[in-house]
């Protein structure tokens, strides 16, 4: 019998002071959701899924709704989950019509012999397993549209992780 434990993160970046309260609130909600699973004897994979689903639905975080936008103004999401007992893993990449990618990653882990699905194939797998697609604009919020517009207009390097331009012009980041 082990002492159940949950450790989560909401991203490491050049977070401005104004975003701290929203992140603390989101982390608190995610902790509650994940710990509720462990406290009633639930599995580690269920706890991880519960905690991350809450953060995907929270606009404060760069995951799910409220994520950063791609160059053409869309949300494009990636997620992975891994089970330490079986070493089974499920990952999805570049999905644009999935509200909670961690739940799709869990489906890949549980329902397929594979590890990674990307793009429209991942979305088709989701629908074949009962997930309802969302519209990409359901995931886009005005704050991120403004952030993208400002970054493109300024043509500055990406300051997300250091608070200072890491590279020259924006396109050199990718």
């Amino acid at each position: 019998m082990r002492k159940p434990t949950l450790l989560i993160h909401g991203g490491a970046w050049a977070m401005p002071d104004a975003d701290i309260a929203a992140h603390e609130n989101g982390i608190s909600n995610a902790l509650d959701a994940g710990w509720a699973v462990l406290e009633r004897g639930g599995s580690a994979v269920d706890a991880v899924q519960a905690a991350i689903t809450v953060m995907e639905d929270d606009e404060a975080f760069d995951a799910g709704r409220g994520s950063y936008l791609t160059r053409d103004g869309r949300v494009q999401l990636d997620a992975l989950m891994m089970d330490g007992k079986s070493l089974n893993a499920g990952g999805v990449g570049c999905v644009e019509r999935i509200k909670n990618p961690i739940q799709l990653a869990r489906l890949v882990l549980d329902e397929s012999p594979h590890v990674y699905f990307v793009g429209t194939g991942a979305e088709r797998f989701a629908m074949q397993h009962g997930m309802r697609p969302c519209d990409n604009m359901d995931l886009v919020i005005p704050r991120e549209q403004k952030r993208l517009y400002d970054a493109q207009a300024a043509g500055l390097g990406d300051t997300t992780f250091t608070g200072a331009p890491m590279a020259g012009p924006l396109d050199s980041h990718d």
Binding site: W13, M15, S43, E56, L80, M82, K85, G93, V118
Partner: protein
Amino acid sequence: TVGATALDADGNLASGTSTGGTLDKLPGRVGDSSLIGCGCYADNESAATSLTGWGEPIMKLVLGKWAVDRVAAGATPQQAAEAAIAHLHKRLGGHGGIIVMGPDGSLGLAHNTPRMAWGIASEGRREIGITRN
């Protein structure tokens, strides 16, 4: 990017990472978060990790598995977390953060970005933090 590691009463570890990627990314660009062994890894016999940050350097170093192997070799999760971020910056000038959980529920967290949001829950313990680097 968001992530979680968990240890349940049966002693099983799990981890997960989910992300919207980087600002203004080219469509189709994938970072470390959804690549096994890079942004996320879990093995009952060693550790569970979830990473966040600038994906390209993290991918090149397969940093999630790198940190897990450090714990397997005897490092504590905190030592492995600090070593991983030091390795990321020293080798490739990368920036990011990592959480590490050992099979006994011991924890590690490190980052070299200005801030990182995190939370811990276990019986009798509930902590939330926005560490400042």
